[in-house]
C-alpha cells in the first residue's frame, strides 16, 4: 500500500472508530466505577486507569482492537493491598508493578502466562469471580457487612437474602430493589435481540435507568430519591478537585516483603489477564491481525505507572469492552483512544452527577461479572474435559481463596505437574527431557510445514512448540505429528485448538496426527470437548422440531440431518459472520444436489460478559452463476447511522421506495446495480423482509436473529427458492 492510500484508509476509519469508542466508553464507565469500589479504592481511580490506558496504550501499544482499563483480576490483589498497606502505599505498589510489566515487556516475557496450565488459570479466574461476587452480593441487596474472608462472605449470602426480604426501612428496600432490577437487566439483556436496545451495553442501561429514576424523583415529583443515602455512590469530586487533590504515592513500605508480594501478584495477574484478553480479541479481529504482545505489555506497564501517579488502578487489556468495540465496528487504536477521550468528557461534564447512581445497581454489574467467571458452567466444562482438570481447577481455586493469588497459581502448577507424573507413572519422562529442544519443524515442500514433537508436550515445554507455530505464516498448511510423543496435556491441546482456529481464519490449516499411539488416553480432553449437554425441557422441544423438519424434508424430497456439524467453513465468507464466532449447525435440510441448505445455527458475538449466544435459522443457497458480493437488509435508524460511519447505502435510481425501505451495501456498486433489475426489486418489495447476503459464490438468507418457527421455515425456503430461480434467470 502506498503512503497516501494508508492515510486515506486511516482517515476513512476515523468516524466508525470514534463511534465504537463512544459505545465502549458507555460500558467502561460503570465497570471502572464498580471495579474501583470493589477494590475499596475511590470510584474515580477506575476511570483514571481507563483514561490512562486508553490514551497511552493506543499510542504505544502493539494490539489493534483491544481496549485497556482496570481489570477484574486486580480486585483480588488491590483489595488486600488497600486493607493491609493503605491507599497511598497501594498506589506505590501499582507504580512498581507497572515498572515490572515494562521490564517483562523488554525481556520479551510478556507471554509469561502461556506457560501456566490452563486449568490452573481457570481456577484463579474463578476464585477472583467468587471474591468479587461474595463481597458485592451483600451490597447489591443493601446489606453491607464486613467479614474475614471470601468463604465467610459466601456463607453469609442466604442470611443476606432473608434480611433483604424483610426490610422495613424504605430506603434499604428501594436500594435492594435497584440492585435486583439491575441484576435482572444484566441477566436478560443478552436474551433480548433488539438492535436499538443492544446499541447501548447492558451496564450502561443500568446507569441510564438509575440516573433517569433519580431525575424523575427530583424534577418531576419534586421529592428526594427514596433510596437510602448510605447506598448511593459517594460524591465524586469535580475535575478541578481531582487535579488539585492528586494522591501522593507512599513508597515508605518499599523495603517490606508484603509490599513486594503485592507488586508481584499485581504484575502476574495483570500479565495473565492482558494476555488472555489479547488472545481472545485477536481471534475476533475482523482484519485478522496479530497483536505484538510484548509491545502491548510495555505500553500497559507505562500506562500503569502513569495511572498510579494520577491516583488510578492498574491498567490491563480488558476483554468485555474490547469485544463490544469489535461488535460496534472498531478497527484500529483510534477507538481505544476515543474511549479514553469520551470518558474524560464524561468526567469533566458529569462527574458530580454520577452520585445519583445507587451503589447496589453498580454492584449488580460486578455480581454478574463475578458469577460469569465462576459459574457452574465453568465447572461442568472442566469436568467434561477430564476429572484431573477439575481437581487442578479446584485446588487452585481453594488455595487462591484461602491463601492468595500467587500461592494459588503455583499450587495449580504443582498439582498439574504431580498429576502428570502420576498419570504417566514416570518422573523420568519429564525430568530427562524437559530441557531438550523436542520440536522439529521443516518445510516439506513449498506450501506445507511439518512439525514433529518428541518425548512429551505439556505446559512445561509448550514454548518450544509455540515458537515454531508462531514462525509460520497463517495462510500455510501445517501438520503436527505427535507420534513420537509419549504424553500431551490439556494445555497444549487447548492452545493447538486456538491456533487451529487462527489458521483457519487466515486461510491455512493445522492437522494433528499421531494420536494412535496414545490409545490408553482415550478420555482425552479433545474428544470430549464437543459434548453439548441438553436439559430435559429443551430436549422435548427439540424432538418436536426434529419431527417437523423431518416431515418437511420428506415432503420436499430432501435430506435431513439432525446432528451438530462444526464444519462450517463455507459460512465464514459472509460479511455477517466477520465479527461472530460460528459454533455449529444442526437440524439441516439439504436438497439432493446440495444447492439448498437450510439449518439451525448456533453462534456467538463478543466474549466474556459481553458475549451473546445466538441461535438462528438460515438458508444457504449456492449461486448458479456468478453474483456480486452484497448485503441487503431492512433499512432502519441503525443503518442510517452506519452510513455516517463509512458503510455506504447504495441507492437504486428510480426506485426511491425500495431504496428507502432497504439497506443495500457492497464492494462493487456498478455490478450490484446491474443485478437489481426491476423484476428483482419488485420481488423484494412484495415479500417479507429478509436479510439477504451474497459472498460471490452463495447466498445467505435469514429473517431474524432467532430460531424460526416451522411456519417461518417453510416461508424462508419458499422465498429462497423463488429468489434463486429469479436470479439465475437474470
Amino acid at each position: 500500500m502506498k503512503k497516501r492510500q494508508i492515510i486515506s484508509t486511516v482517515l476513512k476509519s476515523i468516524p466508525r472508530n470514534l463511534f465504537s469508542g463512544l459505545v465502549v466508553s458507555l460500558i467502561a464507565l460503570p465497570l471502572s466505577l464498580g471495579l474501583a469500589m470493589a477494590c475499596d479504592a475511590p470510584p474515580i481511580s477506575g476511570v483514571i486507569a481507563s483514561i490512562a490506558g486508553g490514551a497511552l496504550v493506543s499510542i504505544f501499544g502493539g494490539s489493534f482492537v483491544t481496549i485497556s482499563g482496570p481489570g477484574k483480576g486486580l480486585v483480588a490483589v488491590i483489595l488486600i493491598a488497600v486493607s493491609t498497606m493503605g491507599l497511598n502505599a497501594t498506589y506505590a505498589a501499582i507504580i512498581c508493578s507497572g515498572i515490572l510489566l515494562l521490564i517483562l515487556g523488554f525481556l520479551r516475557l510478556g507471554k509469561l502466562s502461556d506457560y501456566f496450565p490452563s486449568s490452573a488459570i481457570q481456577g484463579v479466574l474463578a476464585a477472583i469471580g467468587l471474591i468479587i461476587l461474595g463481597k458485592q452480593f451483600h451490597i447489591m441487596l443493601a446489606n453491607k457487612i464486613v467479614k474475614e474472608n471470601t468463604v465467610e462472605y459466601l456463607m453469609a449470602i442466604p442470611k443476606t437474602v432473608i434480611i433483604a426480604l424483610n426490610y422495613s426501612d424504605t430506603g434499604l428496600k428501594y436500594a435492594a430493589l435497584a440492585g435486583v432490577l439491575s441484576l435482572a437487566i444484566m441477566v436478560f439483556y443478552s436474551k433480548i435481540r433488539n438492535r436499538y436496545l443492544q446499541l447501548v451495553p447492558a451496564p450502561m442501561w443500568v446507569v441510564i435507568l438509575s440516573l433517569s429514576y433519580s431525575y424523575y424523583y427530583e424534577f418531576v415529583l419534586g421529592l428526594s430519591n427514596p433510596i437510602s443515602k448510605k447506598y448511593m455512590i459517594p460524591e465524586i469530586p469535580n475535575i478541578q478537585k481531582i487535579i488539585t487533590d492528586l494522591p501522593v504515592p507512599d513508597f515508605g513500605l518499599i523495603g517490606s516483603s508484603a509490599f513486594w508480594i503485592n507488586v508481584v501478584a499485581l504484575t502476574l495477574i495483570a500479565s495473565i489477564e492482558s494476555l488472555l484478553s489479547i488472545k481472545a480479541v485477536d481471534r475476533l479481529d475482523p482484519k485478522k491481525r496479530r497483536s505484538n504482545v510484548n509491545k502491548d505489555i510495555k505500553a500497559l506497564g507505562m500506562s500503569t505507572i502513569a495511572s498510579g501517579f494520577l491516583g488510578g488502578l492498574n491498567v490491563v487489556a480488558v476483554i468485555a469492552p474490547s469485544s463490544v468495540n469489535i461488535s460496534n465496528g472498531g478497527t484500529n487504536r483510534i477507538s481505544n483512544f476515543s474511549h479514553a477521550f469520551f470518558l474524560t468528557i464524561f468526567i469533566v461534564l458529569f462527574s458530580t452527577e454520577l452520585k445519583r447512581i445507587p451503589l447496589p445497581a453498580l454492584m449488580a454489574i460486578l455480581v454478574y461479572t463475578g458469577y460469569k467467571l465462576a459459574s457452574p458452567d465453568v465447572i461442568r466444562r472442566m469436568f467434561i474435559i477430564g476429572k484431573e482438570q477439575l481437581i487442578i481447577f479446584l485446588i487452585t481455586l481453594f488455595v487462591t481463596l484461602k491463601v492468595g493469588l500467587i500461592s494459588g497459581i503455583f499450587s495449580g502448577v504443582l498439582a498439574t505437574f504431580l498429576i502428570h507424573v502420576f498419570i504417566n507413572k514416570s518422573f523420568q519422562l519429564f525430568f530427562k527431557n524437559i530441557l531438550k529442544p523436542n520440536v522439529l519443524m521443516y518445510k516439506e515442500n513449498d506450501e506445507n510445514y511439518f512439525i514433529s514433537v518428541k518425548h512429551f508436550s505439556s505446559f512445561l515445554n509448550f514454548r518450544n512448540l509455540k515458537n515454531k507455530l508462531d514462525a509460520i505464516p497463517e495462510k500455510n498448511s501445517v501438520v503436527i505429528d505427535f507420534s513420537l510423543c509419549g504424553f500431551v496435556d490439556h494445555t497444549v491441546m487447548e492452545n493447538i485448538n486456538s491456533y487451529q482456529a487462527l489458521f483457519k481464519k487466515k486461510g491455512g490449516s493445522i492437522d494433528v496426527i499421531g494420536f494412535e499411539m496414545l490409545g490408553s488416553e482415550s478420555q482425552h480432553p479433545f474428544a470430549l470437548k464437543k459434548l453439548l449437554p441438553i436439559s430435559g425441557f429443551i430436549k422435548n422441544n427439540a424432538n418436536k422440531r426434529k419431527k417437523d423438519f423431518e416431515s418437511l424434508a420428506n415432503k420436499l424430497k430432501m435430506e435431513y440431518i439432525s446432528q451438530n456439524d462444526t464444519n462450517n467453513e463455507h459460512l465464514r465468507g459472509f460479511d455477517y459472520f466477520i465479527t461472530k464466532e460460528i459454533g455449529y449447525t444442526y437440524n439441516k435440510i439439504s436438497s439432493k444436489d446440495s444447492c439448498y441448505n437450510l439449518f439451525d445455527i448456533s453462534y456467538s458475538e463478543g466474549v466474556a460478559i459481553a458475549k451473546e449466544n445466538i441461535r438462528s435459522t438460515m438458508l444457504y443457497i449456492k449461486a448458479k452463476a456468478f453474483a456480486p458480493q452484497f448485503t441487503l437488509t431492512k433499512e432502519g435508524y441503525l443503518e442510517r447511522l452506519y452510513s455516517f460511519t463509512g458503510k455506504k447505502d447504495i441507492d437504486i435510481p428510480g426506485y426511491e421506495n425500495f431504496s428507502k425501505r432497504f439497506y443495500l451495501n457492497g464492494k462493487n456498486p456498478k455490478k450490484i446495480l446491474n443485478l437489481f433489475t426491476e423484476e428483482i426489486i419488485r420481488f423484494f418489495e412484495n415479500n417479507d423482509y429478509y436479510h439477504v447476503e451474497s459472498n460471490g459464490e452463495a447466498f445467505l438468507i435469514f429473517s431474524k436473529e432467532r430460531i424460526a418457527t416451522s411456519k417461518e421455515v417453510k416461508k424462508l425456503l419458499n422465498f429462497g427458492m423463488s429468489f434463486s430461480d429469479l436470479i439465475s434467470k437474470e
Binding site: 502493539g62 520479551r108 491481525r289 496479530r290 497483536s291 505484538n292 504482545v293 510484548n294 509491545k295 530441557l435 531438550k436 529442544p437 520440536v439 522439529l440 519443524m441 521443516y442 518445510k443 511439518f450 514433529s452 518428541k454 508462531d470 514462525a471 505464516p473 505429528d481 513420537l484 509419549g486
Partner: protein, 279 residues
Amino acid sequence: MKLNRIGVGVAFSPNLKANIYEAARLSLFMESELMLIHVGEEDAKKTQIISGHLNEFKKQKLSYKIIFVNGRPVEAILNAIRESKINLMVLGALKQESFFKYYLGSIAREITRKAKCSVLLLINPSIKRIPCKHIVVNGLKDPKTEETIKSAFFIGKKLSASKITIVEEVAQEEISIKVDDDRSLRESTIIRERLRLREKQRVKKLIKSVPKDQLEGVNINSQPIFGQRGYSIGHYAQVVRADLLVMNAPSKVSFWDKLFPNDIEYILEDLPTDVLIIR
C-alpha cells in the same frame, strides 16, 4: 574413503551373533578385513564360538582376525583400534525398555567420543540383512562436511541405497528477527527463505565434489532445517525413518557438552537410527 579394516567389539551377550553378522556383512560390502576385538583372556573355546558364527561368511571369502586384549574395556579397545589401524568401529546400542528408544551403554559411548576412527552405531543389529534404502547426512557449514558427504555417497553406493538426503541445520539465531506481529513475521519469513536458498546453493557445490559414478541411481534431496544444531537432524532422521544417519565427528567434547548436550551428544542420548560418525 577407503575402509581397510572394520572392527567390532565382541562381548558374549545375547546380541553377539547379530553384531558379528552385521559387521561381517558390512566388511564384505566394503571389501575390508574384519577385526573382532574381545576384551579378556585368549581361550580356544571363545575362538571357536566366534568363528562358528562366521561360517556363512567364510564361504564368501571374508578375511577376518580375532584379537584378544586385556585391561579396562574402553582403553583396551581404543588401543586395539590404534594398533590394528582400524578405520571403522562397529558398536551395538541398547534398547530402552518401555518405549522404542535406543541409547548407548557407557562403554560404547566413551569409545564413540574418544576413538580416532569412524564409528558405526547400530540400534537394531539383525541376523538377516535389512536393506539400507535411505541415508540422511549432515550438510553443516563445517570443513569436515565435504568428507562426510563424500563418505555418505561412497557407502550409499556400496550398500546400494536409493535415496540420500542432505540436511542443513541452520541455527535459529541466524534469523535475526524475532516474530512478534505480522510485520516481523513477514520479515523473518523472507530471511528464512533467503537462508534456505543460500544453504541449497552451498550443498549443490558440495555435491559437485562427489565422484560421478556414485551419484548415479541415487535420489538426492536437500532439506534445510531451522533448529538446534545436532538435535534437529536426529529428530528428522527418525521422522523420515532413515536407515542410516551420517554425521561429522564433533570438534571437541568438553565437560560442558556432557552437561548441556549439543551436537553429537543429543544423538548419543537417544539414537534415532543407525548412526555413522565420520572421522
